[in-house]
């Protein structure tokens, strides 16, 4: 792909994510989307770059701040918005909402309990290797989630099995409303932890779209070639609150000056300028931006018009009663003769 096309595509996805988040934040006030929503305003760069590098058979597993990565896997926008409205047309038929947003056919999955998605990502990588495919697994975590024990278990396990996993820690400096620093016993990067398990680690800038793409593209190819796992710590920052639409500045866990500084570095307008400087016509850009607005509006309107599921339907969604096709007969009666007078197993020294 031509370098200018790369820039345009990155900008387009960043713009889609940003505008979607901003529109959702406005609609959220109507209280028809009733689920906790963790917006990713300011963190669009990484998912936008990934959207160029991932194939449909690659898997992404991420925690609660999921919207950007759903779009990075090119999962359908309408199903995403319908999911937030709890409609049966949603990507999880209204059972997951935002913080567990998933779309199976796009191989995108998420879940909010910290560390779980990261660990399951290693399983997706295991399956790719087991079946001999060159698909990769992207497993995401935040700086707060890095404290979970399962993260270390997973890094070790992935290193031992040389799994084709791209482990990514989005370090946005805060775990909900707590700064990360006081809870990190040694003030070095998270990469040091991954390296201690023998996982090749890199530090990446989540506010430099072109640079990030340039550094991630070869790493993804190396993973497809069997050189995994790789751990990437991506520095980034969210200028929105941790959850919902209300500003959480009253909690005073970060200063207005800090937020303002990061807003000045906003990579979205900077990317727009880069795209124009690389030769895209302003009219083309505006047409793209208009089309993005239309797509978002269409998705919101469709979601509002869609039906909810039915409760009897929903209650049946817990269990899969099916079996592998080779199972043609299930026995319901007795099978053998069992003499219950046998001596039970006696344990000895373990």
């Amino acid at each position: 792909m031509a370098a200018s096309d790369v820039k345009v595509r990155i900008y387009e996805t960043m713009r889609l994510i940003r505008r979607l988040e901003e529109r959702l934040a406005v609609e959220y006030t109507q209280q028809e989307m009733r689920c906790p929503m963790h917006f990713c305003i300011g963190q669009e760069t990484l998912p936008a770059v990934l959207s160029l590098l991932l194939r449909s058979e690659d898997t992404v597993m991420c925690p609660h701040r999921s919207h950007g990565f759903y779009l990075a896997k090119h999962a359908p926008l309408e199903a995403m918005v319908a999911e937030f409205y709890g409609r049966v047309t949603g990507s999880s038929r209204g059972m997951a909402g935002s913080q567990e947003l998933s779309h199976g056919p796009s191989n995108f999955f998420s879940g909010a309990v910290l560390g779980g998605a990261f660990a399951i990502g290693a399983g997706a990588a295991f399956a790719a290797k087991y079946t001999g495919s060159d698909a990769i697994s992207v497993a995401l975590i935040g700086d707060g989630g890095m404290e979970e024990g399962v993260v270390f278990e997973t890094l070790n396990l992935a290193a031992v099995h040389r799994l084709p996993a791209l482990f990514v820690c989005e370090n946005n400096l805060y775990s909900a409303h707590s700064p990360v620093e006081p809870y990190r016993s040694r003030h070095n990067h998270f990469t040091a932890r991954a390296e201690s398990f023998g996982v090749r680690s890199v530090l990446l800038d989540g506010y430099d779209p072109v640079g990030l793409h340039g550094r991630l593209a070869p790493l993804v190819e190396q993973l497809r070639g069997g050189e995994g796992p790789i751990f990437a710590e991506v520095s980034t920052y969210r200028t929105c609150g941790h959850v919902g639409i209300d500003s959480d500045e009253w909690l005073a866990y970060r200063t207005p000056e800090e937020i303002a500084t990061w807003k000045q570095r906003d990579p979205l307008p900077l990317m727009r300028e880069l795209v124009l400087a690389a030769g895209t016509e302003p009219a083309v850009l505006e047409a793209m931006e208009t089309e993005i607005e239309d797509r978002i509006e269409t998705a919101i309107d469709a979601a509002k018009a869609a039906p909810h599921p039915e409760i009897d339907q929903v209650l049946s969604w817990n269990m899969d009663p099916g079996f592998h096709p080779l199972v043609t007969h299930l026995i319901e009666g007795p099978v053998g003769t069992f003499d219950p007078r046998q001596v039970e197993s006696r344990l000895e020294a373990y």
């Binding site: 879940g111 399983g123 295991f126 396990l157 269990m319 319901e332 003769t337």
Partner: protein, 338 residues
């Protein structure tokens, strides 16, 4: 008079005398022969001991790609199984004691059990987790729990508890080939017990109980490692003219309440023998449900025989005093008929 237990062979192929451990091994091997996506892992899975015989020899036949040892990282191992099952493989994860799986309760409760639900019923996780319940030789409080009631209360999981070698083979094969995540809880005390079982693979329905011993006077429901005691108690009281219908649950999630109800509708009497804590256990669930369904048609009060409200002591005579006995079950049967 001892009532002989009916023999049913599900196929024309031969029978062989196998231990419970060998039956688990046979099931696993046949599953791996039938489906390339089946793999087995856990601490000691590829060792010569083969997890008390249940995985011995598998690595020699299938190689380390499909049978492998693991670090003591139960949470990550369960997550690996989840990611692999989500991709269409059929992992079998083995823990040598139920307690070790507790490291993975986040994965089991927050991911495995609800993965299909949170996908709107679209995804499946065809994974199997085998858990072993320790008993005897001073296993003590940390190596004796069953916790089947905990797992059984989570929507989305199947929990099966084989009670003899023929059950072990058929239920493990079903667990592996079921598209639903299934936990198989095995009593270590059953491992050396033997039974003639079919050589060919077969699959036992999950969620259906069966009558091990028909009887008209009282229904005795039991499962898992307590079935031998239940059958012996039934034979003991037969000498007093009490004919006990022994129902083997096979699975504690789902529980086959229909079969139990049919049986108790005939006998009017219910005893439940559970290899686990009585308080808040599965026996209570069965008694409650049957009382709701049959209520005043019960001829006598239902009874439960299960563990006292305590952890399991290490000291040998205390260990013996802790566990319910064949006599306890027989006394309950007699009491319901008196």
């Amino acid at each position: 008079m001892n009532v002989p237990i009916r023999v049913t062979t599900p196929s024309d192929a031969g029978l062989s005398r196998r231990s419970f451990a060998q039956a688990l091994n046979d099931a696993t091997r046949q599953a791996m022969e039938l489906e390339p996506g089946v793999f087995v892992f856990g601490i000691g899975a590829d060792g010569k001991g083969g997890i008390f015989g249940s995985t011995t020899g598998l690595v020699d036949q299938f190689g380390p790609r499909r049978v492998f040892d693991t670090p003591s990282s139960e949470s990550a191992l369960t997550a690996l199984a989840t990611g692999a099952a989500n991709a269409g493989l059929r992992p079998v994860l083995v823990h040598q004691r139920v307690e070790f799986a507790l490291y993975s309760m986040d994965q089991i409760a927050n991911w495995v059990s609800l993965w299909r639900f949170k996908s709107g019923g679209l995804a499946s996780l065809p994974l199997t987790i085998r858990l072993i319940v320790g008993k005897g030789w001073g296993q003590g409080p940390q190596h004796t729990k069953s916790l089947h009631a905990w797992f059984a209360q989570l929507p989305g999981l199947q929990v099966v508890m084989p009670s003899s070698p023929s059950e072990a083979k058929g239920l493990l094969l079903s667990a592996i080939f079921s598209n639903n995540p299934t936990i198989v809880i095995e009593g270590r005390n059953l491992y050396s017990m033997e039974e003639e079982i079919p050589d060919a693979p077969y699959f036992i329905a999950i969620g259906k109980a069966f009558v091990r011993r028909p009887g008209r006077d009282v229904t005795l429901v039991s499962f898992g490692s307590m079935i031998p005691q239940a059958l012996r108690a039934a034979n003991d009281v037969a000498e007093r003219g009490i004919e006990t219908e022994v129902v083997d649950l096979r699975s504690v999630s789902p529980i086959d309440m229909e079969l139990i109800e049919k049986s108790v509708a005939r006998t009017g009497r219910l005893v439940v023998a559970e290899p686990g804590w009585q308080r808040n256990g599965v026996a209570g669930e069965i008694v409650a449900e049957i009382c709701e369904r049959l209520g005043t048609r019960l001829v006598s009060s239902p009874r439960r025989i299960a563990w006292p409200d305590s952890h399991v002591p290490m000291s040998t005579p205390m260990e013996a005093a802790f566990y319910p006995t064949e006599q306890n079950i027989a006394d309950a049967l007699i009491a319901t008929v008196a």
